[in-house]
Structure formats: C-alpha cells, structure tokens
C-alpha cells in the first residue's frame, strides 16, 4: 500500500500496528478503488478496435489494470474507448451510448481518426474528431496506436481518476456538465442540434 501512496505519513502509527493498520484519506482510497476497476465499453469502430482486442488478449493483457471486463452494455461501463473512425452515420449512436453511460464516465479517444479525423478527415462522411460531440479525457495518438500506447493511455485515465477529489467531483454536482448531449440528426447532412441557429443563418451571412 505504501508504494501506491495511499498511506499518509503525517499520522504516527504505533510500530506494533504497522502491519495491520493503514491511515489514508477517503479521496485516496475511493479513487484507488475506482481506478483499479475501470470497465471499458466493448465498442469497436474500426482498425483501432483490433489493436484494442490485442491489448486485451494474450500478450498485452489488459487485466493487469483491472480492465479486462469489457461490457457490451453502456449501462455497466465507466470508460468509452472510441477506437476508430467516427462517421456521420455513426455519431448519433455514439452520442446516445455516451448519454446512457452512468457517471462517472470517461472517454478515451484512440487513434488519429477518433482524435481529429486522421487520414480520412477530408471524407464527406467523416466527423473530424469525436470531441466535436462528446468530451474526451485522454487522446492516444497513432494509426493505429500499438497496444502499448493504448495501455499508456489507460494509465493516464487512471492517473486522472486518482487526481479527482470527491468534494468537487462533477457527478455529485448539478450543473451543465451533467446535461445530456443532444443527439445529432441525419438530414441532408449531419445536423448538430446545438448549431441549429448557425445553420439557419448560414446562407444569409
């Protein structure tokens, strides 16, 4: 436990109890528990999903991080790994999945396509980055990122989780963060409901 920095040194523990007692703060123990059991959403989009599967399989073994339980249902998962090109046809589904995930939830954008469109950015059916619609916590570069890179990204997610104090945690507060993200519509092109006035005035400007 001492290696994890959980045991706070400022309290004196009698030497005969050192083996039995640990003194820590609620934040630390709470976040330690959360960060060691992040359940990703089993959700593959494109090429990067194959590397995600490799990261979960024999050689790279994501289970070492407490993440081997990939849940196909968004209701049971904490982390969405957006692994691949996000298309306009797919983004309403992704937003809906994100809305269905319970707080606290995290998004890891895996690879160039999910982070910014990547090599397919100019395509007419490609969304230039999933962060145009949902908030992203960690970006992993690469095309596709190797499983090592993904594991490094997952460790960054854990780092972020460990640094969040409960007092200010956004999922215990009311506020704009908790509002659902409006689901985009498929019209003559992708319509983001947040941009409707911009689209209405688009031609006039």
């Amino acid at each position: 436990m001492e290696q994890n920095g959980l045991n706070s040194p400022e309290y004196e523990i009698p030497p005969e109890l050192k083996a039995q007692v640990a003194i820590t703060s609620l934040d630390k123990i709470y976040n330690w528990g959360r960060s060691a059991s992040v359940w990703p959403l089993m959700f593959g989009l494109a090429c990067c999903a194959i590397e995600m599967i490799c990261a979960a399989a024999s050689r790279y073994d994501i289970a070492r991080f407490g993440m081997e339980i990939m849940r196909p249902s968004p209701r049971q998962s904490d982390l969405m790994i957006v692994s691949g090109t996000v298309t306009k046809k797919m983004i309403p589904v992704i937003v809906r999945l994100y809305n269905q995930m319970p707080e606290p939830k995290y998004v890891l954008s895996m690879g160039a396509c999910a982070s910014g469109g990547g090599p397919f950015k100019e395509g007419y059916n490609v969304v230039s980055g999933v962060d145009k619609f949902i908030p992203v916590d960690v970006y992993v570069p690469g095309c596709p990122p190797t499983p090592q890179a993904l594991l490094n990204g997952l460790m960054k997610v854990q780092e972020k989780i460990r640094g969040e104090p409960i007092k200010t945690a956004r999922w215990y507060k009311k506020g704009p963060d908790l509002a659902e993200i409006p689901v985009p519509m498929l019209g003559p092109d992708l319509i983001d409901p947040r941009k409707i006035t911009l689209i209405q005035n688009g031609d006039k400007n």
């Binding site: 194959i50 024999s58 196909p72 019209g187 003559p188 319509i191 911009l198």
Partner: protein, 579 residues
C-alpha cells in the same frame, strides 16, 4: 498494351448486330453494350458461354464526355480469364440502366452502391435504397461534380500544402467550422428527419406463411453497437418467434469515403489507404493495388520481391484466419479462450510484419515494382523457425482442441447452409465460396504474380455450413504454410525494387483490374488513369461486402441465435464492407 488478347476473344457483335462494339479507347479493353441489349447479352453470357460469376459492378463518371458508365466484370467458375463489358448512358438525370439482379443476384448490393454513390437508377432492382449514406443525404457523392465540405482541389498534392506549406485548418475554411454543407436555403427547424423509414418499409416485404397460428412479427435491430457484429455492422431482422423471416443488412457506419479520397490522392498515396480497407490483411490489399497499377504501368517486379510478396501475402492469410477462428469461436459461445490461443500465434506474425515493414497492422509495404525494403537481418531465420517448426505444430494443436468439440459441431454442422448454386449466384468469394464445394481460387483460376510456381491444393469442403467454413480456414492455413515453406526455400538474392524510388509515378492512361485471392475472397482493384497524377476512378471490389449479399438468404428460416454464428463464419471486416 493493357489489352490481353484473351479478353477480346468472346466476340458477340455478330450475334447482336449494332449493339456491341469493342472498347477501342487507348488502354481500355472489353466491350461496350447498348443499354437496351444489356439483359439479353448478360443472359447469353451466363447461359451459353459459362460466365456464371459476376465479380464486380461499378460505375465511372466521365464528366467531360457527359457520360456515365457501368462496368461489369464476369468470370467463369471453371477458371480462366474474365470478360469486361460496359454500358454507357448520357449523364442526364434520371440515369437509368437495367438491373442485372434477376440474372446475377450477386449484383444486388453492388447496384445499390452505384445508386447511392453515383445516382444510377437500376430499373428492375428489387430494393434500390441507399446503402452507405442515409436516406435523405443530399447528392450522390462519387460524382465528379459533387464536392465534399472540405473540398480544396481536384487532386493532390494540394497547392496549400506544397511546396510552400501554407497550411490552414480545413475547419477554418468552412462556414460552420465543421465537415458539413447544406443545400441552399436549408432550414433544419422546419422539418423532421427520418432516415430509417425506407429500411422498415422494405423489411415488411416478405412471404408470409399462411399455415399455423397467426402471430405478430417483431423487428429486432442488432448493431451497430453489438459485440458480435465485428465492428459497426447492423442487421435488421423480422422475427416470427425465434425464426428469422426477413433480414436486411444495414451498413455505412464505417463508410469513410475510401474511393473519393482515393481519387484525390496520387497513385502512390493510395497504398497506405489500402492497408485500412481490410485491416486484418493489409499486405493482401497492398498486393491487389500494386498489381492493378503495375498492369497499367507495365512494370514487372523483381524476382526477389515476388517471393517476398508471396511470403507476406500468405502470412497475412494465416494471421487473418487465426483471427477468424478466435472470433468465430467467440460467436459460437466459447468466450475468449480460443481467441487467446489464436491471437498468441497471430502476434508472432505481427512481429515479423513490424520488423519488415515497421508497423504491426498497417504495413504499407508494397511498392509499384517491388516492395519498400528488403528483410532486415534475422527476419528470414525467424520466418523459418515459425513456419517450419512452430506453426505446423500449433495449428494441429488448435485444430485438435476445437474441431471435435461437441458444441462447435452441433452449432456448426448443418447451420447456415449455402448451396453451391447459390454461392455462385450470389457472387460469394474466397473460403466462403469454397466451403460450399466450388473449387475456385484466384491463385489457381487465374494465377497472378508467381503462384503458378508453387505446389498447393485448392481447399474445398462440400456442405457449405458454419462448420465447413471453419474447417476450410484450418486447411487454408496448412496450405499457406506449404507455400511459405516453398517460397522461403526458393527465395533468390537480388534487388527488391524494379524502379528507382520516386515521389510520384507516371501512369499511362487506361484501365486495369487487378485481383488477388485475399483471405476473405477475391479482392479486386479497378483503376482508371487518364495520364494525370491522380486516378480518375479507383474502385475496390471488396469481398466481405459482396459476400454479405447472400447473408440474408442463408439466414432466412434459421433461428435468431444462429445469425451471429453465420455472420462470424462469413468473415467480414467493416473497413472493407463500408470502405
């Protein structure tokens, strides 16, 4: 130059006087058929001359000439060279061409693709809906006069990037700071959007059984977020209890505009994009594209690079089939354990790819006239160790664990049967076709590269069910190991590139269709060059996409639980289905 004599051999112009002309444009081959005689001609080809296998349908937009062309490639399942014929129609809406679905049912999805992307109406098509884009999308994006929201120039390299490199973000040039564009005067607040209506309407069309209890049928959507659809594939099924009475595959969730981007790219720029088609088999995709362009350029790869290509392509096949064995077993209920065994072996192949090409999955290794670089030191020994020692043993081990398993046998044998006639009819390809008893393998039927020098068997099984499809994969791995062993033994010394390294290649005008036997089936690249640095048309005949044509027919009548197994045994990769 690009017109092999045999392609021109079947001359039916005497039989259809005035309706059929040889395609005499420089670099082109095949026949131009009049729109009115297309059906007659196709029936004659299929019934009298044995061209029973429709490999590819695609459209080409000849904007300067004011013409739209539909290109058909047909083959004989007994082997040999194919026949190309084309229909030209004026480029004025509505563009109408008779549908070939009644003659070659394998045309169904491909004609829908041509309708979606080019706006060619196939009259007589049973279910002509958009396939990649949603209903209601404005325009037909592959037309040459349709420009995407981030449009800069017709062809790369863009002046904004090269040589000065005055790069601005694409978003900053767009009105909405995003990859979107709307028709003039569009007001989203005044209307509602329903892109799904056409799908549900078409799902209602099926043969209702009159016998027995009258029960309500329910529609179940599986995907695009489903663990066993192998990506973002969606199936809409109509169920009568547990039984499937109608099924429509819905795709386009990964349609990332491969072809449109490919036509903006220069020829060599497309090589890394082909990696991302079937991302489990990037070396095979490189192979097909390199073959097509080499045909156009009339370049012959060096002897050593030919052998390296064969070794790489066969290693890709093994790694792909290993992945399939893992995922199919997942689908059949053996959650993740067989996958761990299969991926353990696949990683060893990926190690070799990484050593040779620098990347595990996206190899980008082939070049026109050879391969990018020679084997680094020690790799050949690694390949020898793997394929003379470890793999033959490991494949038998995996086979022993799996193929006698009671659950696999009862979930596989007799399930999802595709008969031999149907397999040809629906243009199935690859292991999927061979499991139905058709010994058709492009490596033997029309040998490319140096496959005619190797000894191997065309694997075939006769029942066409899930179990046989799994077994075909095992047998193919064994044959691939045989080929690699021969290729490693015969690997000559010498250069690996026939041409000098070039920033851009010069490709003479003309058309070429390069096809290889990829791990999923016949992978074809249809490329048209007009002498400019960018291809005028770049089309991919994607085996997993066309294999899905028969997915509906084989599932109807099955239980809904077997749907997953059937889909797994077809072996699709969404990057290739949607492109």
């Amino acid at each position: 130059m690009n017109t092999p004599a045999h392609v021109q051999s079947l001359d039916l112009s005497a039989r259809f006087p005035g309706a059929i002309h040889p395609d005499t444009r420089p670099g082109y081959s095949g026949w131009l058929v009049e729109n009115a005689n297309l059906l007659e001609y196709a029936i004659a080809l299929r019934d009298e001359f044995g061209y029973d296998y429709l490999s590819s349908i695609t459209a080409v937009d000849y904007l300067p000439e004011g013409k739209m062309e539909v290109v058909y490639h047909v083959y004989k399942t007994t082997g040999g060279a194919g026949l190309v014929f084309k229909v030209q129609v004026p480029r004025v809406d509505p563009i109408e061409v008779p549908s070939l679905v009644s003659i070659y049912p394998g045309a169904e999805l491909q004609e829908r693709e041509a309708w979606d992307l080019f706006g060619i109406k196939f009259t007589g098509h049973p279910d002509l809906r958009r396939i990649f884009m949603w209903e209601g999308f404005a325009g037909h994006p592959m037309r040459k006069d349709w420009h995407e929201p981030y449009f800069e120039e017709e062809g790369k390299p863009f002046k904004s990037r090269w040589p000065e490199g005055q790069l601005v973000m694409a978003e900053s040039k767009n009105l909405y700071a995003d990859n979107i564009a709307y028709p003039h005067g569009f007001n989203p607040a005044s209307q509602t959007f329903d892109s799904e209506k056409a799908l549900y309407d078409s799902l209602q069309i099926y043969q209702k059984e009159e016998i027995g209890l009258d029960t309500d049928h329910i529609i179940v959507n599986m995907g695009p977020q489903h663990p066993s659809t192998h990506g973002v594939f969606r199936v809409a099924v109509v169920l009568d209890g547990e039984q499937i009475v109608n099924l429509k595959p819905v795709m386009g969730y990964l349609h990332r505009n491969h072809e449109k981007i490919g036509e903006r790219n220069t020829f060599i720029m497309n090589m890394p994009y082909t990696d991302r088609l079937d991302y489990l088999a990037s070396m095979s995709n490189n192979f097909g594209y390199a073959l097509a362009i080499e045909k156009l350029m009339n370049v012959k790869p060096t002897e050593r690079s030919e052998y390296i290509r064969i070794i790489m392509a066969e290693m890709t096949r093994i790694s792909n089939h290993l992945f399939l064995i893992g995922t199919l077993l997942n689908d059949l209920g053996a959650y993740f354990t067989p996958m761990l065994y299969a991926l353990e072996e696949r990683e060893l192949i990926l190690d070799i790819f990484e050593a040779v090409a620098g990347s595990r999955m996206m190899c980008n290794y082939f070049r026109f006239g050879g391969v990018a670089r020679d084997f680094p030191e020690g790799v050949l020994q690694k390949i020898k160790d793997l394929f003379f020692e470890r793999f033959p043993r490991k494949i038998e081990e995996i086979d022993r664990f799996l193929s006698e398993n009671e659950i696999i046998r009862s979930r596989g044998i007799g399930q999802g049967v595709l008969t031999a006639e149907d397999a040809i009819k629906y243009s199935a390809a690859g292991p999927f076709l061979r499991a139905s008893g058709i010994p058709y393998d492009v490596r033997r039927a029309e040998p490319y590269s140096i496959y005619d020098r190797f000894e191997f068997d065309v694997v075939v099984r006769s029942n066409g069910d899930i179990y046989d499809r799994l077994m075909v994969r095992f047998d193919e791995i064994r044959q691939s190991i045989r080929i690699i062993q021969q290729a490693v033994k015969g690997l000559p010394d010498g250069p690996v590139m026939a041409l000098k390294p070039m920033y851009q290649v010069r490709v003479p005008p003309g058309e070429a269709y390069g096809r290889v036997e990829g791990p999923k089936g016949e992978l074809g690249f249809y490329v048209i060059s007009n002498g400019k640095p960018n291809p005028w048309r770049y089309h991919v005949r994607a085996p997993s996409f066309i294999n899905l044509t028969s997915f509906g027919p084989i599932c109807i009548g099955q239980k809904v639980a077997d749907l997953v197994g059937v889909l797994g045994s077809i072996d699709i990769v969404l990057g290739e289905v949607d492109r």
